[in-house]
Symmetry: C2
Subunit: 313 residues, 2 copies
DNA sequence: ATAATGGTGACAGAACATGTCATCAACCCA
DNA sequence: TGGGTTGATGACATGTTCTGTCACCATTAT
């Protein structure tokens, strides 16, 4: 086998088995220990973070992150990666922030000057508008990791009404909406699914003792929702423009039905406690929505409208 | 020079000068033509898209995109790239869509199985909510390109009121907001800066004849705005919650002032034609905003509130 | 102490890369 | 048409690099 190919395969092998001995690889590749040693040194020079210990039970290790074999990207692909990461820059906290930065700087370093200019030019010409929020969400990575691996976390949460509580949760998924990060999770304290705002989670750490539930295929599906307490049936007709505005609201998705002609309707149970919120929401929709029930929501809306009329008198 | 190094340098050289002859490179690297030919063949096999023509004035070319020298990424960096691109998936049209996809598939191919699993797991666990809109914006790449290079485009635009028009524009910047793409541009027809919704731009092609203006440092700055026709002074007080909601609205940014305590005010000129829109907006803000002037906006708001009261009676 | 492990240097021989040459095939231009 | 330019390919001797072997050192767990 030519040396170049061997180096590639060596890199892959080394990444697969994170610990190994020189003799092992020598046998595997059918070359001498000496050659493997020389190869490993070259890999080191190429950036693979190798670490070795002598003595019995010693051996080589790939330290920290494993490395992918070198990949040749086209300039356009590199630009696309810049674009994608650039698009997210308004999110104050993101998982993988450091990693994106280091990946981009690798691209940047290997790029000829004119492509750099192109990218620098683009940075000022394109943007994704997202409301910038003050709140940092320091625990995002922990939450995401727990969601992927389905582990239980012990968190300190400061809820809307500023009560602080400690509870065990098992994250299901994370989503960013309107500048905030939210986490859908099973809450062992409330014994049901709840949504947490990530910037209100002060601390989060894995709870190794707690047994995770089998949440099977509960995932990102938007139909995921807590069973409301004291449910009230909400029904409303939406014009086409009304549908468009409602489609942007994640929490509304389970209730929303869109007809072929673009109009639609809202139908489903909502917790009675949320009625004030819905009042505001329907006022915002103006004449794009026609509320059918519940009557008490109509009353609330009338009350607010009257109040506003007075303010604007 | 060892062969491996020579191949690297050859790749860079070949990328710099997009057209070259074998003899040139042979002289430059101090090896024979035969060797260069063999090397070029290897580069080809490594994925560099080379194309050659025989005969006088023939020679080699790097076809289509140029290729970066192979870069070794860590697994975490690859995952970060997946994350960034995944975040954008709800945008139905994006510049560099194809390129992102091909870059990701390169990462994916070179990844050991467990990382693939991790990424596949993550895909269902994290999301960025953006309203999905129906309208495609087929011309995004052209617009972005024109913005970066400051070229004039000839576009067919279908404005709100469904009039179709052809006009020359010089794009300044692009931004995505709330699921739609917008393009700030100087409009030669209206002789001023205008904002175009990209999905309403049916066609766009470079107009080589037209002389671009020197728009110098007009860039993404949010303060960029057309001088309103028939300006009317708009003033309003905002509570803290009101400020938070207004911060999400790009078009409002030039008028918005935030105080230290989190409250704020809106102050500035707006076109009279936009008043109906503002009426709706202020109704949506409910009691989080207190409108000071203009009086005619107050009247309009009262009218709408009364109308809604009637609807909800 | 002993054995297991990594690390280094020297050197002959094996494997590979290179240069030279010959030949062919397109293609342009006069 | 013919001569010049350029790429493409094969053969082979030669030169360079890579590899295996061996000898030896250093470190450390048992």
């Amino acid at each position: 086998m030519p040396k170049s190919k061997r180096l590639m395969e060596l890199m892959m092998t080394v990444n697969r088995k994170r610990r190994f001995k020189v003799q092992e690889l020598a046998d595997e590749f059918g070359v001498s220990k000496r050659t493997i040693l020389r190869d490993l040194q070259e890999l080191s020079e190429l950036g693979v973070p190798l670490y070795s210990e002598v003595g019995p039970h010693g051996g080589y290790q790939v330290v920290r992150e494993r490395v992918l074999p070198p990949i040749a990207f086209t300039e356009e692909e590199a630009v696309a990666m810049f674009f994608a990461v650039h698009a997210l820059r308004h999110y104050s906290s993101l998982p993988f922030e450091a990693e994106s930065a280091s990946a981009l700087s690798k691209f940047y370093l290997h790029m000829p000057g004119d492509v750099r200019d192109r990218i620098d030019g683009m940075k000022h010409r394109v943007d994704f508008v997202t409301p910038t929020r003050r709140g940092d969400a320091p625990c995002l990575s922990v939450l995401l990791d727990a969601a992927v691996k389905q582990r239980v976390l012990l968190i300190e949460y400061e809820s809307k009404d500023e009560e602080e509580s400690r509870r065990r949760i098992q994250p299901v998924c994370l989503y960013a909406h309107n500048g905030f990060w939210y986490c859908n999770a099973y809450c062992f304290l409330r014994e049901g699914f709840r949504v947490f705002r990530c910037d209100r989670i002060r601390r989060a750490e894995p709870d190794a003792d707690a047994k995770p539930l089998d949440l099977g295929d509960v995932r990102l599906s938007r139909r995921f929702a807590a069973e409301p307490r004291e449910p009230v049936r909400l029904r409303a007709e939406l014009s086409r423009a009304g549908v468009q505005r409602c489609e942007g609201e994640l929490w509304l998705a389970p209730l929303l039905r869109v007809r072929e002609d673009g109009s639609g309707l809202i139908d489903g149970g909502v917790p009675r406690g949320e009625l004030p919120f819905f009042a505001e929401f329907f006022i915002g929709l103006g004449s794009e929505a026609r509320l059918i029930e519940p009557a008490e929501l109509k009353t609330e809306i009338r009350r607010r409208l009257a109040e506003m009329l007075e303010r604007y008198a």
